[in-house]
């Protein structure tokens, strides 16, 4: 067990990180994010402990794990909304704090209803200056910035359409745009593909991937299904039962590794470049073999 962990564990301080973003980012700066011996305990129960890893600029890291394994809590800790029980998390070398605007956040898909007084461009504009007090005054630079993002994310054709009439995929595209509006160095994604159909799953993950290649930000992508992003991720962080494994998808998605992590029989199948995990407690239904092919 210890040997597996030390093999897969990528410690923030070790500069010999194998995983480098495909951009081959040349910035000499250290990791955008470094999690150092972090742990969270709720009373007796430890959600996860001794978690250490880093994300370099332009790196795409997927976070997987059973329900309740603390994936979302990890994002909250990075956003400074959840205090750690021990260890620390640094962003650009500084301890994380609440409301850091250089961290973008893409939430789960939540359909806006007709009571939302926003058009597509207004959702993106909230990412530009939604945190400021007062009413937004018309400004050319603000409008230009929103237009640039809408162009980047391919949403210009419905820029002025009410948010509520847009499809789930289109709304999610705009939320990615909203996250890009703060020129982030790190983008956190909390199950952004949930309840999207397969073609939108692909287009949203491609959008995030293309943007991180173009802009060089790190990505921490919480998901229950690795397959839509399998070709894009550099490394995988797998959380289960208070423990974790980290490494490339090939290193982590192995029957022996996940069986040991879960402490029960888990089988990993590969077919047509897809990974299917069977028998993982709580997680089995996510990786159900009948999940459709695109």
């Amino acid at each position: 067990m210890t040997s597996t962990r030390s093999l897969l564990l990528w410690v923030a301080d070790s500069p010999a990180s194998a995983a480098q973003g495909p951009t081959g980012d040349t910035t000499p700066a250290g990791p955008v994010l470094s999690v150092e011996g972090a742990g969270i305990q709720f009373g007796e129960r430890s959600l996860w402990g001794d978690l250490s890893f880093g994300i370099t600029p332009g790196e795409f890291v997927a976070v997987l794990g059973a329900n309740g394994s603390g994936k979302t809590t990890l994002l909250k800790a990075i956003l400074g909304q959840q205090p750690l029980s021990h260890g620390q998390i640094r962003f650009l070398g500084e301890p994380v704090h609440h409301g850091n605007r250089l961290i973008g956040y893409v939430p789960q898909q939540k359909l806006a209803d007709a009571a939302t007084p926003l058009r597509a461009r207004d959702l993106v504009a909230l990412g530009v200056d939604g945190h400021r007090w007062g009413i937004p005054l018309p400004s050319r630079s603000r409008r230009q910035k929103v237009d640039d993002i809408l162009t980047d994310i391919g949403a210009m054709s419905y820029a002025n359409a009410p948010l509520s009439i847009l499809s789930g995929g289109e709304q999610q595209r705009l939320r990615v745009g909203q996250a890009l509006a703060g020129d982030p160095r790190l983008v956190l994604c909390d199950e952004p593909l949930l309840s999207l159909d397969l073609s939108h799953q692909r287009s949203i993950s491609e959008l995030i991937n293309n943007q991180r290649n173009a802009r060089g930000f790190g990505v921490l992508f919480v998901t229950h299904d690795i397959n839509p992003i399998l070709g894009m991720v550099d490394r995988v962080l797998y959380l289960a039962g208070g423990q974790f494994r980290m490494g490339t998808p090939d290193e982590v998605f192995q029957t022996s590794v996940l069986t040991e992590l879960y402490g029960s029989e888990v089988e990993v199948f590969r077919s047509n470049g897809r990974v299917i995990v069977v028998g993982a407690t709580d997680a089995d239904h996510h990786h159900h073999p009948t999940e459709g092919e695109p």
Binding site: L79, Q81, H98, G99, N100, R101, I103, Y105, P107, K110, A112, A114, A115, T116, P117, L118, R119, A120, D122, L123, L126, G127, D129, G130, H131, R132, W133, G134, I135, P136, S157, Y158, A159, N160, A161, P162, L163, S164, I165, S167, E170, R175, Q178, A179, G182, L188, D190
Partner: protein, 301 residues
């Protein structure tokens, strides 16, 4: 023959309700009421945008019942209706704001508070031995009774609400659409939502005194609900909503002046008709395809 008979009966009936003699004099007399109505229309129209965006229509109803309880208690104890309704509103708004962070919790808390408030109000009114019209007015409105001090307190409260809304506009809009993302961007979501509840409590308190606790929804929900049928722009919706609110309030008062019926049916009817028209216009727009989406996008959708 029968036709003429019906006509005469009808004539009598209508002239007993509508009588626009001496309209000009009445208008002067009710100057305060019209000013109060216009201000309330503006504030109601503005805040209703967020009532809709935050899905708080039921909360408005709940707060108004506790405001009614407060006003009745104020009447009974001689503290004053204005003070009483303010206390009732603010207590209800803060309770709902603090306990009902999640929508599901919120609805059950409101459902628990509302009948309690209504019952308390009825108890106070039953014990009150003063004029009966005071009692009924708290439920259905009493715009005629806006004297100068009351108009002044209404103006002060409304100015506070408008300034508060304008200052917290963007964070409030952000937190209403996507609380998690807003929190991630540094918006103090909890504080913003409590501030909103206080502003809503203040608005409900002044509205209850004018249109009555049973009818506040007509000016704190309907204007924005109507505006949202025809637009989604964060600039157009509040402007339209305020215009609708003022139209309903001032229009209702103006018509009520010439009639023997209280103002509230007119206000609620105008408000409702505006909503119906907006729905029809909105449906037409949807059929023709919304502006802002280019045809190419329709194909790839």
């Amino acid at each position: 023959m029968i036709h003429t008979l019906l006509l005469t009966v009808g004539d009598d009936f209508w002239s007993s309700i509508f009588n626009f003699d001496n309209y000009g004099e009445l208008l002067v007399l009710l100057r305060n009421s019209i000013i109060a109505g216009a201000i309330l229309g503006i504030v109601g129209g503005l805040i209703s945008v967020f009532v809709m965006a935050r899905d708080m229509a039921f909360a408005v109803h709940g707060i108004s019942e506790l405001s009614f309880a407060g006003a009745s208690a104020g009447l009974l104890l001689g503290v004053g209706v204005v003070e009483g309704s303010l206390v009732g509103s603010l207590v209800a708004a803060l309770l709902i704001g603090v306990l009902g962070v999640r929508a599901r919790d919120r609805n059950s808390i409101i459902a628990v508070l509302m009948p309690f408030g209504l019952g308390l109000g009825i108890l106070c009114l039953a014990l009150y031995s003063g004029r009966a019209s005071n009692k009924f007015g708290l439920l259905t409105g009493q715009i005629v009774a806006v004297d100068n001090p009351r108009l002044n307190s209404l103006i002060v409260i409304c100015v506070i609400v408008v300034i508060g809304l304008l200052l917290s506009w963007r964070p409030l809009l952000f937190a209403s659409t996507d609380p998690q993302v807003a929190a991630g961007r540094g918006v103090p979501v909890g504080i913003v939502s409590l501030v909103f509840m206080v502003l809503l409590g203040l608005t409900v308190a002044v509205s209850v005194q004018i249109v009555g606790s049973l009818l506040v929804l007509a000016i704190l929900v309907t204007p924005a609900a109507a505006a949202l049928r025809v637009s989604s722009s964060p600039v157009v919706v509040p402007l339209l909503s305020m215009a609708f609110g003022v139209t309903a309030m001032v229009g209702g008062i103006m018509i009520a002046l010439g009639t023997s019926i209280p103002i509230s049916p007119y206000v609620t009817t105008i408000s409702f008709l505006i909503y119906v028209v907006c729905r029809i216009v909105g449906a037409g727009r949807e059929r023709r395809g919304w502006a802002g989406r280019q045809p190419a996008a329709m194909l790839t959708r």
